[in-house]
């Protein structure tokens, strides 16, 4: 177990190195630089050069890359070009909002997917299964950038039940969490259905019935415990989808999270900020996958790390 963790954490470092390198060079390929955007078209060439020197952007790219890596090794993500505040501070301010949104979305997804998936598997090809399939197809096909505004129009503007945007109490979280969680719910409910159907055909389920156990125990203890094992992996992988979905959802709801910070960074060519955001997102993704594998081993006694 310990050796496994060490191996996985070393792998994490390798992945992060790859991500940092890729992002560093890709972002410099985007036309325009922060100085143009900060000073505008009318600025004098001399002023632009002065600012470039001040920000260290005049140096050769390889040189900038090496010094960025060096700072990174000391845990320094650099300063945001515009605000001149440490990138780590800016990310730290926004990160909790994204985590809140993701947890909310995941809760929405599970609350929708578990009942839908279980009901569908218990009465496959019945009308409830059909209805659940329809809901799932809609959930997967409807893009966040359409669902979000529609929810706002219906629940905030027409009905006036929920606030339009910005972070606040629980009522502020509901619409963004539904927007972000629906696609995941749709996917998960189909997964849970398929997995549970397969498990219900296993002989240990027949045996559980032969032992005289009530259906409640047969389904919720013996079947579901097995059926949810593969679902754990899917949930872990879906965190990546949630993170990228969060960028759009945060923009729609004006949610002050990592996604909207990243977008701001890209618009203003704020190199250190973009690199920092992506580095954090990649780290979260890799760590969640590590946690997923640990959870899998915990849920399935046949798997040892």
């Amino acid at each position: 177990m310990f050796a496994y963790l060490v191996r996985r954490l070393l792998l994490l470092l390798l992945v992060l190195f790859g991500v940092v390198t890729l992002v560093f060079f890709l972002i410099h390929l985007i036309p325009g630089d922060p100085v143009d955007i900060m000073l505008g078209d009318q600025a004098l060439a001399a002023d632009k050069d002065a600012l470039r020197h001040a920000l260290g952007l005049h140096r050769p790219l390889g040189n900038q890359y090496l010094s960025y890596l060096g700072d990174l090794c000391r845990g320094d993500l650099g300063l945001s070009i515009h605000s001149r505040r440490p990138v780590l501070t800016e990310i730290g301010e926004r990160f909790p909002a994204t985590v809140e949104l993701m947890l909310g979305a995941m809760l929405v997804a599970l609350l929708m997917a578990l009942p839908l998936g279980i009901i569908s598997a218990l009465k496959p090809y019945g009308w409830l299964d059909g209805a659940s399939m329809l809901i799932s197809f809609l959930g997967i096909s409807i893009p966040n950038f359409w669902l979000g505004p529609m929810l706002i129009i219906l629940f905030s503007i027409q009905l006036g039940w929920l606030p339009v945007n910005e972070r606040g109490g629980l009522e502020h979280l509901i619409l963004p969490a539904i927007t972000l969680g629906t696609a995941m719910a749709a996917m998960l409910s189909r997964m849970i259905r398929a997995s549970l159907l397969e498990v219900l055909d296993e002989e240990y389920i027949t045996n559980a019935r032969a032992k005289g156990l009530p259906e409640r125990l047969v389904i919720f203890k013996h079947a579901l415990r097995n059926a949810l094992i593969p679902v754990i992996t899917i949930i872990g992988l879906q965190v990546g989808v949630l993170l990228s979905g969060a960028i759009i959802t945060e923009a729609i709801f004006d949610w002050p999270g990592l996604g909207s910070l990243l977008l701001e960074g890209i618009y203003s060519r704020n190199y250190p900020l973009v690199q920092g955001c992506i580095l954090v997102i990649a780290t979260v993704y890799v760590l969640v996958n590590l946690l997923t594998d640990i959870a899998y081993a915990w849920a399935d006694p046949r798997v040892r790390l």
Binding site: Y204, R209, L213, N226
Partner: protein, 272 residues
């Protein structure tokens, strides 16, 4: 209950399954009696309907493929075919227990074997968890599992094939049933282990005075364990007789054919 009155009686059991090309007649009128304390062997080729008959007793057949079931399965005067789900659960595991062919697939991989036995005892006898686990450990000792206390915390995959089948037997015995149905319980095991499991089943059946319905395609196994044999072919019982009579004077052509299949016998006589 007198010795002549059957403990379990199957009358004209007919079962139809939904097949790909239409309904299939799986059982075409099966009659079978099981007396208290006796061992009846149900023999036949695979697909002859042995397992379907056995699973029908406890209402374990799934719909689909189950399409239609008619006839009676009488246990203590009640018909198991028409019994309510709640009443049937009182019979399952408690009065009539079932041992599956493949213990690896019949045991739930994510629960310890101790838990899988204890949950049954808790449910049927209202014992606390601790006493139920103690019962499981005692049963493990009874079926000859080494180090029974430690076995409680093992998962199925941590045991050998023979050990797993002993766990299945312990599970079946856990609520002291009157009837034990064993569906090819030795088929998935090594030959040496097969003999051990057979002897164990026979010993337990005698000690606990249970009726045993033993299903197999292997007549040799029957010679060692059964009092009576019922031979099945294509959804019917074609011959039913005491073990001596059946081995020495088989009446039905199919039975004679099965007997010639026993290695080293070649159609001659065998001493059961």
């Amino acid at each position: 209950m007198t010795a002549s009155e059957p403990l379990l009686e199957i009358r004209d059991l007919k079962i139809r399954f939904q097949g790909e090309a239409g309904p299939l007649n799986i059982l075409q009128g099966v009659d079978l009696k099981l007396l208290a304390g006796e061992t009846v062997g149900l023999v036949g080729a695979s697909g002859s309907g042995k397992s379907v008959t056995a699973q029908a007793i406890l209402g374990l057949l799934k719909r689909p493929p189950l399409l239609e079931i008619s006839g009676q399965i009488l246990y203590e005067g009640s018909d198991l075919v028409t019994m309510s789900a709640g009443q049937l659960r009182q019979v399952r595991g408690r009065r009539i227990a079932y041992i599956f062919q493949e213990p690896m697939s019949a045991l739930n991989p994510v629960f310890t074997v101790g838990e899988q036995i204890a949950e049954m005892v808790v449910l049927h006898e209202g014992l606390g968890r601790r006493s139920a686990l103690n019962r499981a450990a005692d049963l493990f000792a009874e079926v000859g599992l080494p180090d029974p206390r430690r076995r409680l915390n093992n998962y199925p995959h941590e045991l050998s094939g023979g050990q797993r089948q002993r766990v299945m037997i312990a599970m079946a015995l856990s609520c002291s049933p009157q009837i034990l149905i064993a569906d090819e319980p030795t088929t998935a095991l090594d030959v040496t282990i097969q003999a051990q499991i057979l002897r164990l089943l026979k010993r337990l059946q005698v000690e606990r005075r249970m009726a045993l319905l033993f299903i197999t395609h292997d007549l040799r196994v029957m010679a060692e364990i059964a009092d009576r044999l019922a031979v099945m072919q294509a959804g019917r019982i074609v011959e039913e007789a005491g073990i001596e009579a059946l081995f020495h004077a088989p009446q039905h052509a199919y039975t004679r054919q099965l007997l010639t299949l026993i290695p080293g016998r070649g159609g001659g006589r065998v001493v059961p």
